[in-house]
Structure formats: C-alpha cells, structure tokens
C-alpha cells in the first residue's frame, strides 16, 4: 500500500536520452531506437520496459483518435504532508520531471476502430501512486463511459495508494470500485490491463475488478509488496512469486499478453462483449 518515493530516478529502468541502454533483465546493450520501435520490449529477452502514460496511449490507441479528458485536474497537498521533504515540493519535482500534473492520463479514443474510454497510469509520476487526482480522473472516466455507453480500459502501473494523501488516497479505492459497480450495472465492459508493477491499493480496487484481466509478461502484481511479505514471514519468496504468470496460474489473470499483441487482444474482447 505504498509507493516507492523514488529519491533517485532509476535511469537504467527507463530509457535514457542516449543512443544505447542496458536491459535490466538480461544486461544486453541495446540500441535505444530498436527498443522504442519494439514498443519498449527488449529484443533479446522480451523484458517489458516500463512505459510512461502518454507513450502507452500512443502504443494502444489508433493514431490521431485520442481525445484527452479531465486534463486540468491537479493535485493539492490537503494534509500538508511533510516527511523529509514536503509533498508540495515533491509534486512540483515530478511535474517538472514528467511534464504531467499527476499519475494518470484519461480520454476517449479508438483501438483498432473500436471506441473506448482509456485511462493509463504513469509509473514515472511518484511510482504511479493513486491520490485524489488519480481516483477522481479514473472515476470520471468510468462515469463518462456509463453516460456514453462505452467500454473502459484501465492500464495500471502503480505502487498503490499515495501515502502523502493518506486516508483520502485510501478512499479513492472505494470511489473507483463504486464507479465500476455502476459500469457493471449498466452492462458495460471493463478491461483491466496490469503492467509492471501493479501493487497495493490499486490492485486492491479497480485493477482486480475487470471483466477481463490482461497482464503483461512477468509484471509484478500483488497486494503487499514482496519486501513486506518477506519481512513478515521471514522466508525467501518462491521464484516467480507475484508475477503475471503466477497470478494466471492461481486464477486471477485471464491472459498474459505480450505488448505487441495488446491492441488485437483488446479489440477481440470488445467485439465479443459490446452489443
């Protein structure tokens, strides 16, 4: 239920500005353009790099069809939360670094010609953590889908609820889940796409409520973080624990789908379910 504060930006996990980068999984030196052309998947080992929200939208949504919604919803510091740094300052830092106001991009668009509401979380903005803004924008996305009778796709990538908004972050779990119940009552489709990592309060709310749940290969998906579990039970965790394939094996993920096939998978589900 936490987000790693990300004191030091982990360059090696993203794609640095340079021409070359190293795959964190297989350590191969890769030509950055080749990785980008492959939707940020390592050509050597198929490691799926984290994808910022806007880039995710570009990858998934038909070119030129995305209409962004609720873009002006911005975070506040309602609790005046200070740890080693003020939350307000942290927000400004991440806003500067990512060029986004908070950790989700929402809108309406088409995927292979099928109209759909999309929300994509941004793993680069405070670990993709969910505070009031993320909860509000996702709720509005779902409500708009109910009003316009559209299916919904939410791309999760988050360490969980944002500590700096404490119980207000927690309440976003109830808020988004309530909105999804209305979508369900309206007979509309919700596809939840889980990417690395999806943990804490995001997993324990909308991420796990999809009519269908798709996960990218090897994505970390869980309620408690692996470190918390290891500390609690004082055991080393089994190989592959909390990875997408593990969740599928235990019945909590429908499909593990490589990034290049996501668009066609989503389109197929829409075709089966949209009346």
């Amino acid at each position: 239920m936490s987000q790693i504060p990300g004191e030091k930006p982990r360059e090696q996990e993203g794609i640095p500005e340079g021409l070359w980068l190293r795959c964190p999984e297989c350590s191969a030196m890769l030509f950055a353009k080749a990785v980008n052309d492959a939707l940020k998947v390592c050509p050597e080992c198929q490691y799926h790099f984290k994808v910022p929200a806007r880039e995710r939208i570009v990858q998934l949504v038909d070119e030129g069809t995305f209409e962004e919604k609720f873009a002006d919803v911005a975070p506040l510091d309602p609790l005046e939360f200070v740890d080693r740094k003020g939350y307000g300052d942290r927000l400004k830092e991440y806003q500067k670094k990512t060029g986004a106001l908070d950790a989700v991009v929402c809108g309406k668009g088409f995927i292979k010609g099928r109209q759909i509401m999309v929300a994509a979380m941004d793993p680069e903005f405070m670990g993709g953590s969910m505070g009031s803004v993320v909860g509000e924008k996702i709720t509005r996305t779902i409500e708009m889908a109910v009003d316009e009778k559209l299916p919904v796709l939410i791309v999760s990538s988050s360490g969980g609820a944002r500590m700096q908004e404490s119980t207000l972050s927690l309440m976003q779990m109830a808020k988004t889940s309530g909105a999804l119940a209305r979508l369900d009552d309206a007979g509309l489709l919700f596809i939840s796409l889980l990417t690395d990592p999806t943990t804490g309060g995001v997993t324990a709310s909308f991420a796990m409520l999809g009519d269908f749940i798709i996960a990218e290969p090897k994505a970390l998906i869980g309620f408690a973080g692996p470190r918390v579990i290891a500390n609690t039970i004082k055991q080393t965790l089994p190989e592959g624990f909390q990875r997408a394939e593990f969740l599928q094996e235990h019945g909590f993920v429908d499909f593990v789908v490589p990034r290049k096939d996501l668009r066609s998978e989503i389109a197929r589900l829409v075709d089966f379910c949209v009346k």
């Binding site: 239920m1 936490s2 002006d72 919803v73 911005a74 975070p75 506040l76 309602p78 609790l79 939360f81 740890d83 080693r84 505070g131 009031s132 803004v133 909860g135 509000e136 609820a161 500590m163 908004e165 404490s166 119980t167 207000l168 972050s169 927690l170 309440m171 976003q172 779990m173 109830a174 808020k175 889940s177 309530g178 909105a179 999804l180 119940a181 209305r182 369900d184 009552d185 804490g200 309060g201 997993t203 324990a204 709310s205 909308f206 991420a207 796990m208 409520l209 869980g222 309620f223 408690a224 918390v228 579990i229 609690t232 039970i233 055991q235 089994p238 624990f241 909390q242 235990h250 909590f252």
Partner: protein, 356 residues
C-alpha cells in the same frame, strides 16, 4: 472472548488478594500502562497505597483521598484531551481495548456466528454472525484480534486473509437477501501480507467487497473501533454511515510502515502518525467519517461497558434512520458519499469538496 485474559500485561498482581478492599485497586493495577500514562499510573498507585494505609491503620484520610482522586481525574482528562497522533495509535492498540467479542457480549441479545466463505476456509480474523443488537436484527461483521496469545495467533492478530473478506461478502449477501442491515466493526492493523493470502487473491477479495458493498441493497453502518489499517479495514467499511471511536485510527498505511518507507528506518514513526492525519478528529474534517463516537474518560480500555454503550446508542439511531430511507435513495447517497472524497484543484481553482 474471555475477560480473564485482561491479566496480560499486568504490572503487578499484589492487589489481587485484596480484591474489593478499595474502589480503585481491583482493576487499575492490572491495567497495562502506556508510556504516556506513567504519571497517571503513579498517581493511581499513591491513591491505592493511601487507601491501604487507611484500612490498615484505621486513620481517616478521606479528604486527602478525595483530593487525590480529583487530581487524578483532572490529570486523566488533561492527558486524554491532549493526546498526539502517535499516543492515539497506542490507545487504539491498548491490550485491554474492547475487541469484537467484547462488543458482542455487551451488545448482542443473540449472536449466531456463521462460518466459512464456501470457497476455501473459515478465517478467524473476520467474524460474521446473525445478531440482535440496538433493537434490531442485523448481520454483524467485524475484525477480531484475539485476547490471549493463543487466540491472537489463531486470529492472526486481526489480519484477515482473502477467505475472511469473502466470508464477509457472503454474510452481506445473506443480509441483503433477508433484509437485514449490516453492521461492521473495524479493528485491524491491515490485511495479512503472506504467500497464501497473495495466492488466494487478497487484493481481489478486498476490491470485490468494496465493489459489492457500494451497491448492496440493505443499509450498512461501519464503526472503526480500534485500528483502521488501510485496505484491510476498507474491505468491510464501504457504508452509508461511517463512524470512528474517539481514539481509533484510520489510515492508508500504519505510521511504522510509512516511516520505514519514507525514512528507511523507524525514527520517524511519531512524526508520520501526525503527518498521516489518522485521528478521528482529522478524518471527520475530511469527510472520511461522519461521526466521532466519544469514548469514556481515559479511553475505552478504562470502561469497555461504557464504550459499548456509546456504540449501541449510535447504532440504534443510525439503524432507525437508515431503515426509513428508500433503498434506491440510500444507494444514491452511499455512492455520493464516497464519490466526493478527495481534494484536488481544477483549472487553477480549488474544486475539492471538504466536509466543513
């Protein structure tokens, strides 16, 4: 269940032989003393010694005693009126704080526990039962931490597994079917973080409960009686009315865990307790809880029956009010209640809705 286990954490057993010899000694010396309560405990000890002296020497110290008791009450009030957030967390975790089954014993005319989620097992950290309480037939659901060591281990100290949340949902569906209102008592450090819990879908079970509770066609009242530990608490706390006992806490993360992440060490715990705004007073301001239920002077652990009575009065009123609402209106308002939580700005203006 058993009240004898209040022996645990006893500082001294010296007075147990002299039970009944004075008004204060019987219970006080058995009470676990929190760090900030030490001055209170010292004063109590002095009172007790003087009472014993009076009994032994047949001398009248009644005016001194009266004065000391007044001082004690004044100090108790002053201490508890000024608890900081971290002290509040400690009160919420006090070993003698009333637990689920204490409320059952105090408040339920009849309680028939139901068992199992029909899928995997019967979690002992979440209990559900048909109950007659506050003048109504209800489905009572709550976390139970356990009192003695054996029971605590069986209950995982109130940290529920997925089967606990699924049993709770099963109980709520029964309540919906037979028109019983749902009452939930929340008291958990959090949902259990373990391999089995993950394998069986801890996250899914909590998400599913919030999803279904938001549209459950029967009134729901939730009370955070002790610890409101994150998703583990919220998994049974999506309700029409949410209250908190005065010295309970409710937060997205425990102050210890928060400090461990943000400070990579334990030194920031008290500071994080403050920063997380996890007390009832704060959460009322943010609209997270509707009502703060006052505890007896010096906290529920000093007077569990008094605390239970306060809970009963609250429940009686809420259940009566909610029964009068049309269910569709109730669901609309339940949705709006959670819909409006959160604070954000929009096009440069502050568009948040804060409960005043």
């Amino acid at each position: 269940m058993d009240n004898d286990s209040s022996m645990e954490g006893a500082s001294s057993a010296s007075s147990s032989g002299a039970a009944g010899s004075s008004s204060t000694s019987g219970t006080t010396s058995l009470r676990h003393t929190l760090a900030f309560e030490v001055p209170l405990a010292n004063l109590e000890k002095q009172i007790q010694e003087l009472e014993e002296l009076q009994a032994r020497k047949q001398v009248d110290y009644s005016s001194e005693l009266r004065q000391m008791r007044e001082n004690y009450t004044a100090l108790l009030k002053k201490t508890y009126d000024n608890l900081n957030a971290w002290e509040t967390v400690q009160v919420a975790r006090h070993p003698q704080r009333p637990l689920f089954f204490d409320y059952v014993n105090f408040l339920c005319r009849d309680y028939r526990e139901i068992h199992g989620d029909r899928l995997f097992g019967d979690d002992q950290a979440i209990r559900c039962g048909l109950a007659r309480m506050a003048g109504q037939k209800v489905m009572l659901i709550g976390h139970h931490k356990g009192r003695d060591t054996k029971e605590k281990v069986r209950c995982y100290f109130g940290l529920a597994h997925p089967e606990g949340y699924r049993k709770a949902l099963r109980a709520m569906k029964i309540a919906e079917k037979f028109g019983l209102p749902v009452v939930t008592l929340v008291d958990t450090p959090g949902a259990y973080p373990g391999i089995g819990a993950e394998e069986r879908g801890q996250a899914e079970s909590i998400a599913r409960n919030m999803f279904e509770m938001s549209r459950l066609r029967t009134p729901i009242v939730s009370i955070v009686t002790g610890e409101g530990g994150s998703g583990g608490a919220l998994g049974i706390a999506v309700a029409d009315r949410v209250a908190m006992l005065q010295y309970a806490w409710y937060s997205v993360i425990s102050p210890e865990a928060c400090s461990a992440i943000l400070y990579r060490g334990g030194e920031g715990t008290a500071q994080m307790a403050e920063a997380l705004k996890l007390t009832a007073k704060h959460l009322k301001r943010y609209g997270v809880v509707d009502t703060v239920i006052a505890e007896p002077l010096g906290g529920a652990h000093r007077d569990p029956a008094g605390a239970a009575h306060a809970v009963e009065l609250y429940l009686a009123k809420m259940l009566r009010d909610l029964k009068r609402c049309k269910i569709d209106n109730l669901l609309e308002r339940r949705y709006d209640r959670f819909r409006q939580l959160g604070e954000y700005a929009e096009s440069g203006r502050r568009a948040s809705k804060v409960a005043s």
